[in-house]
């Protein structure tokens, strides 16, 4: 990372770590939700921003993770912390299963199919599938995520748990960027034919991207279940997917862009209550203007991140 990147991240985290000292419970809840949605938006970015696939059903995986944790906790008595691996793996598996048959579809069609998956998912939830999902009212009374040695019941604790999750997610995403798999995603986004011809099995990596994004969204789902102690179908409606989709496109496929997008969409309406009724109306205009004026988003992805040791010249020895 460039030095300016380090400063940016440091400042960002400093603010986030100090927030609980400044905010009361209600605002801390807003901040917690902000972090949770940022994680979902980052997961959306893997599929849409990095891999270029028009996925408008990410709320499905978010909801899968949330409901997995909710069901395992309330119906099977598992402590919430123990449900985390399941909340990551089950959505990831669904990501693989769902992506498999549809991954070859052209952009617009893929878009509509993912919306379709989301709608089927929500309706299944509402119909109390297998007697597990609790119908239109959802599932209540989810236990708090307990970490031994910490008073996990306070809003502060919940907030810090989410913050820790965000840090982990960002580390994993950084890893992805600097790996063969991560680069493969951007290559086939830019030119699928060239990527295939240079040896990239685009089908496998597309499914990988879906599963990867699904797993991260699933983790966010557990955090959501922890924060609200309840899950319900409307929270994972395809309308939410549209929002996450728009945040990535309008904000831009970068961490600052996504954070900005989530902030505008979810935090500003809390700060300016009047804004809340107008928020979608204004956001609609923002979307159109951004596409006309800044098609790559407000804070687009940057490239050219190359290890320093190959920039320096012919100084090092063996190759």
């Amino acid at each position: 990372m460039k030095y300016s990147d380090y400063y940016g991240y440091a400042l960002f985290f400093l603010i986030l770590v100090l927030l609980p000292s400044f905010l009361d419970s209600r605002w801390l809840a807003v901040a917690t939700t902000f972090i949770i949605f940022t994680i979902v938006a980052l997961s959306q970015d893997v599929v849409l921003g990095k891999s270029g696939m028009f996925n408008m059903g990410q709320a499905l995986f978010f909801g899968l993770g949330a409901y997995t944790s909710a069901i395992c906790n309330t119906k099977f008595g598992m402590p919430l912390l123990a449900t985390v691996p399941l909340a990551i793996i089950i959505p990831a598996l669904f990501g693989i299963i769902l992506a498999g048959p549809i991954i070859h579809l052209r952009g617009d069609y893929l878009l509509v199919v993912t919306i379709g998956f989301n709608i089927v998912f929500v309706q299944a939830l509402q119909n109390n599938l297998l007697g597990l999902t609790g119908g239109p009212n959802g599932i209540f009374g989810i236990d708090v995520l307990r970490i031994p040695g910490i008073d996990s019941g306070t809003q502060s604790a919940v907030y810090y748990i989410c913050l820790a999750a965000l840090v982990m997610v960002l580390i994993v995403l950084k890893n992805l960027e600097k790996s063969k798999a991560g680069r493969a995603l951007t290559y086939f986004r830019e030119d699928p034919l060239a990527a295939e011809s240079i040896g990239i099995n685009t089908r496998v990596y597309k499914i990988f991207a879906f599963a990867f994004g699904a797993g991260i969204a699933g983790l966010a789902g557990t955090l959501y279940a922890n924060q609200y102690s309840a899950v319900s179908p409307e929270a994972f409606d395809f309308v939410q997917s549209v929002l996450f989709f728009s945040i990535v496109i309008v904000g831009g496929s970068s961490v600052p862009g996504i954070v900005l997008g989530v902030f505008v969409m979810f935090v500003l309406p809390e700060i300016f209550r009047d804004f809340a009724t107008w928020r979608y109306f204004i956001f609609g205009f923002a979307m159109i203007f951004t596409m006309i004026l800044r098609p790559c988003g407000i804070w687009p992805a940057t490239y050219g991140k190359v290890p320093a040791y190959i920039l320096k010249g012919k100084q090092h020895g063996n190759k």
Partner: protein
Amino acid sequence: MDIFFQQLVNGLTIGAMFALIALGYTMVYGVMKLINFAHGDMVAGSAFVGLSIYTHVMGEAASLPAVIAIFLLTATVVAFFGILLERAAYRPLRSAPRLSAVVSALGASLIIQNGIMLVWGPRMRIFPELIPQLSWEFGGVIVSLIQLLIMGLSLLLMIALYLFIEKTRMGAAIRAASIDQDAARLMGINVDRIIAVIFIIGASLGAVGGLFIGLYYRGITFNMGWQYGLYAFVAAIMGGIGNIPGAMLGGILLGLFNAFIAGYVSSTWADAFTFILLIVILIVRPTGILGERVAEKV
């Protein structure tokens, strides 16, 4: 057997509405290769516009001339907004990558939907009873006047559109632009005008569809656009996106499918089944029933 025929009637009615709305999607997609996400919201808006015209312009008159006037005025207003939509949200992005146009369409959809909410409020409104609530019974099957009206008028409009597309010069120009916009331009076809025409036609048909929704379901909400819009879009894809007879066929088939699922399985699963059907079709035959495969040159 009663259920079958009842759902047949219901299905054809819903299908007719889907078909009218689907035509708007398919015509725009055919020429511009763009999913006009805002179309569903325009349809929803039509119901509200119709409501307001009834209340404020027609003085709540429900005579036949008044009803006809409401339909014509609503269609005109909505068509105007359709042109506005195209100019503001789509024309600036004609040469932009597809993703930009998709997002712009979504933005337009949010604007229209929330515009409706800001003007008419977030709560459900009741659409006026413009058509008498008459119905007849034939051997256990109930058919209402409204259903007959919807089916009949939709059929007329679809026939008219079909003749327009197949038999007129403008129709031929539209077909040409759907196949290859650039080639059509080179042949001297004014593509801008074609696009204006399809938006007017699509919006007008959608307006009629929206008024039918108001008449049939009576309760209208600002966010119903996406639900009907998505269904109609599924119908357009099923029939073969870009294919006008396909949209009509898809609409009717989808209406029937929806009605039969509601009647025989459960109405709470209707959405899910419909979209599963869509997904299956897209996997097995993405070009739709009447669509054609287009090869891509490398």
